[in-house]
Amino acid sequence: MRIVVKMNKSVYIVAILLIVIAGTAYVFVNLSQKKETTTYTTLTTTTATPTMNKITLNGAGATFPFPLYDKWCAEYNKLYPNIFINYQSIGSGGGIRAHLDKTVHFAASDAPLNDEQWTKAQGTLTLPMTIGGVVIIYNLPGLNQSLILSGEVVSKIYLGEINKWNDPLIASLNPGITLPDKDIVVVHRSDGSGTTYVFTNYLSRVSDKWRSTVGMGTSVNWPTGVGAKGNEGVSAMVMQIPYSIGYVEYTYAKKNNIKYAYIINAAGEVIEPSTQSFQKAVEYAALKLPKGNESWANVSIVDMVATNKDAKGAYPITSFSYIFIYKDLSVVPGMDKATAQALVNFLWWATHDGQKYAEPLFYVPLPENVVKLNEETLLMVTYGGEPLIKK
């Protein structure tokens, strides 16, 4: 039995139209993404002339520096309209994973690669790109003054040993304030995060009990509290729930106008979190930093400052935020020479010109010695053995 199908005229017309539309779309898309021969760029001072065709840089990682990196992407695109930088703030752990899997052009993290990750990602260059502080936010309705807390008290709260706001340990630090007789609602991160890493680093330094029972990491076994996703989630939750306490990056607290606590540092001073007190912390820590191509697993501003009685004026919960790239960019699948060049140019710009966008967004600009360190590191970057920056 032969089945004879009679084709309708309209079917032909629709089919031809579809083919024509598909064809034009294909041609259009391909024409605008021509791959050209790359040109070397020589860096004089800080700027470089990139190639003229559309280049997309993909980065992923920490949520903490996202507002700053987002600004950098926008500003850099204004300077070089053909370069688009796409940054996904999926968290430091995600950034590290992406770097290890080589699924992004550059990865960002608040925590440096640990020893295990360092051996897995041979040839990584570590670039500290900005500095920030983790502040303790709280929601005490009706309280206008700033609360004063110490590391010991904060760790006891997060261990679940201090349960009420009017506990004598908190009250003794805040003599002029009547604290309410309410339970403290503890908020922490439910996702893995560099912010958690810095915060638990600090708690491990100031509390032996915390160090032995919980420890530090991007994700820990929290003794108490509720989990929220991202810095944004913790901010939202603390703003929503009265009598709650949480920890977020300084930027988020400032942007959302949430009250944050003053911390008593190891020198016994009451320190207000601010770009100045973060910078002071970096000064004490930046004296000895490894080279860009070495392991930064043991670098921690918190470690240098949290128990250091001589660190005057320093806010202890401060940390670098890093970007990782591979020394030889050709090992990243999908990275061609033009993209590699654009990446290196972008990072050079970010280390120099990009720093002026830091303070208005409540980040701390890199001190001069760290900028020099990054310059040396960027000079090491190659594409298949050919250096991308020629001085």
Binding site: M1, G93, R97, S190, M216, T218, N221, G225, G227
Partner: protein, 302 residues
């Protein structure tokens, strides 16, 4: 003849393709979780510690949390869904009923993130200020009703889930009610039944179908990830200490921690949780299928 054979093989291929895809899914899950299975074995299901710093993982609190929250949401949702379906079929004029049905089906299509955001920013504060606080002040002497009042928690999570599965169950129930043979309805009414009695008889008639509809809803509730992770509080504990406490589910922990899992055992443990989630879902579905099958046999139907 020849054309028929080709048709048969093509459709058979597509049918097998689904089965093969599913088997491949199970295989990938097994491969991904192999490290965790070899390290923890079945004790993973009994362990109650989740410590990424020290590499100790266990899933029991999550399994209990998932089951309890899903069943609770079904408990909240069923009366509402059946009620709405009855109203749509028996009480409302046809035109309004059709419009309302479209609205309900649209609700089913709303992305779960929207429910999560609404739950976090609207429902949770509302419940905290107006419902939980009242319950706490009146019934606070019972331990189950005391404790911190967050607003978010497993109860709020169950309510949000109930809202999410109601449209599905309502739609299916409505279709079932409309499919009740007119002979049954006429017979009931001719015996002098009131509308309420008619409704009860129709419900009894569609019982197996109702079971299947609840299953659909339960399946969605078990797998729900985004909305629940925003509202449940993400607290890894074996049992909540009160009705207003926070908790955790299998899907929420994967959503929260998968991207950040930086070492192999961590990732593998999360894939193991995915495997457990699949097992739980399958167990629920298979149990319900068996019950429906036996119920149908008892009633003398196919």
């Amino acid at each position: 003849m020849f054309g028929d054979k080709i048709f048969k093989y093509i459709t058979a291929f597509f049918a097998f393709f689904i089965v093969i895809s599913f088997l491949m899914l199970i295989y990938e899950l097994y491969k991904g979780s192999y490290l965790a299975i070899s390290k923890f074995g079945l004790s993973f299901i009994k362990n109650t510690v989740w410590d990424p710093v020290n590499g100790v993982f266990g899933a029991l609190p999550l399994i209990i949390g998932t089951i309890v929250v899903s069943l609770l949401s079904l408990l909240f949702s069923l009366p509402i869904s059946i009620g709405v379906a009855l109203v749509l079929v028996l009480y409302l004029p046809r035109k309004i009923s059709r419009g309302l049905a479209v609205l309900i089906e649209t609700m089913a299509g709303v992305p779960s993130v929207i429910y999560g955001l609404w739950g976090l920013y609207v429902l949770a504060p509302f419940l905290r200020e107006n419902v939980y606080s009242v319950l706490q002040s009146t019934l606070g002497f019972i331990p189950l009703f005391s404790g911190p009042n967050y607003g978010i928690g497993f109860l709020t999570g169950s309510i949000v889930l109930a809202l999410m599965i109601t449209p599905i169950i309502t739609a299916v129930t409505k279709d079932l009610l409309q499919a009740v043979p007119i002979s049954i309805k006429e017979a009931t009414v001719s015996l002098g039944a009131t509308k309420k009695e008619l409704a009860l008889i129709m419900i009894k008639y569609i019982k197996p179908g109702l079971f299947a509809a609840s299953l659909l809803g339960l399946g969605r509730a078990i797998g729900e990830t985004m909305a629940i992770s925003m509202v449940i509080g993400n607290k890894f504990k074996l049992f909540p200490s009160s009705f207003f406490d926070t908790w955790y589910t299998l899907s929420a922990i994967i959503a929260n921690e998968f991207l950040e899992a930086t070492y192999d055992l961590y990732i593998s443990s999360l894939v193991y949780i995915g495997l457990l989630l699949l097992v739980v879902t399958l167990a629920v579905i298979i149990t319900a299928r068996i019950i429906i099958w036996r119920f149908s046999k008892v009633r003398g139907e196919i």
